[in-house]
Structures are given as structure tokens and as C-alpha cells.
């Protein structure tokens, strides 16, 4: 699962202070995890990553190929181009690179967060993140 609402709330609480970066760790035994990651990056290639990210998060676990294509249409993406990308595995190398990175840092669970490098595993309440972010802002003198 992605983190969604908690991270959104953090971004709203600290405008301009947080950079959010997303990496893919599609669990290999979930049928649509990999194609969903492909779909997110296919949307990124069309400059619409976050819209697709949010929509897939909302509609999860309905992430089969047909649903993903429907979402692409819903967002007004270039659908033939999108289909070509997900069917061709255009972003496989990027996903594999994220998976290798995850393996190299002993990550095997989602969501996992690195806040200025400090690891947080699993869903946590807003205040848990807030405490860490406040500490980091204090350290940075901001």
C-alpha cells in the first residue's frame, strides 16, 4: 500500500519544507503490483504522475490492466501511448532499479519511508511523522 492521506497531511502542514520522492517496491506475489508501478511511470512520462498515483491509491486494489487503462482515459492521458508503455514494460528498468535499491538497504515491507535518511517502516499516525519532521527542521535550523 501507499501512504496517501498521512503524507498528504504532512505536505499541507509543512508547505515548501518537504520534498516527497516515490520509489516502487511492487511485491512480487501481488498480481497487479508490478503493472500498477508500470502504469504510474507511464503516467509520469506524460507528465501526470501524481494524478495517476492518487487515482490508483484511491481505487486500489482494482489495478488490473483494463482498470489501469480506464484510469488513464479518465485522466485524459494519451491512452494508446499509455497502453504501449505498460504492455511493453517501458519502465521495467526503473522498477528493477528501485527493487535492487530496496534489497541493498534491507527493505522488504511497504510502505517504508526515509525521512532525511531516518527509516520508518509501515503505516504510522500523523504525530509520529510530525515529531521526526520537527526534529529534522530544528536540526536544519528552519
Amino acid at each position: 500500500m501507499a501512504a496517501g492521506p498521512t503524507v498528504k497531511q504532512l505536505l499541507q502542514t509543512y508547505p515548501g519544507k518537504i520534498r516527497l520522492v516515490v520509489k516502487n517496491y511492487p511485491y512480487k506475489y501481488r498480481d497487479f503490483a508490478r503493472i500498477a508501478a508500470e502504469a504510474s511511470l507511464a503516467a509520469q512520462a506524460q507528465g501526470r504522475y501524481w494524478e495517476m498515483h492518487d487515482l490508483m491509491f484511491t481505487r486500489s486494489p482494482k489495478l488490473d490492466r483494463a482498470s489501469l487503462i480506464a484510469y488513464a482515459g479518465e485522466l485524459g492521458l494519451d491512452v494508446p501511448k499509455f497502453i504501449k508503455a505498460i504492455d511493453g514494460g517501458d519502465h521495467a528498468a526503473e522498477i528493477d532499479r528501485d527493487l535492487q535499491l530496496a534489497q541493498s538497504i534491507d527493505l522488504y515491507n511497504t510502505p517504508t519511508f526515509y525521512i532525511n535518511g531516518r527509516q520508518v517502516v509501515g503505516e504510522r499516525p500523523f504525530d509520529f511523522f510530525k515529531k521526526i519532521i520537527d526534529e529534522e527542521l530544528q536540526l536544519a535550523g528552519r
Binding site: M1, V7, L11, L20, V21, Y25, S60, T112, G117, L137
Partner: protein, 52 residues
């Protein structure tokens, strides 16, 4: 006497700041992964996700 108290306070403050600075940190390269927010933001959250 006041000087001594002040010194102790400063030491405690310094130690607590050092303790925070010594949190275990993992270096995660950002590369060209999807991101939002300013590149020079004081806080970077890197999230590994599975949409399903």
C-alpha cells in the same frame, strides 16, 4: 554559581542536539524518481510503495 548552571544547561543542550544528529541514517539515492516539492527542502521523504 550562575555561570556554572549556565554551563551545565549548555552542555545538556549540546548533548541532546548531538543525540539527534546521531540518528541512524540511510543514504537513499533519489535519481529521477517521481517527486514533488522543492529540491532544496530541509526535509526529504522517500517513500517505497506498492500500489496494490
Amino acid at each position: 554559581m550562575h555561570m556554572k548552571k549556565l554551563l551545565i544547561c549548555l552542555c545538556v543542550l549540546l548533548l541532546s542536539v548531538m543525540a539527534q544528529a546521531e540518528e541512524k541514517r540511510t543514504d537513499v539515492p533519489i535519481g529521477d524518481s517521481p517527486s514533488m516539492g522543492p529540491a532544496d527542502a530541509p526535509v526529504t521523504i522517500i517513500e517505497f510503495i506498492d500500489f496494490q
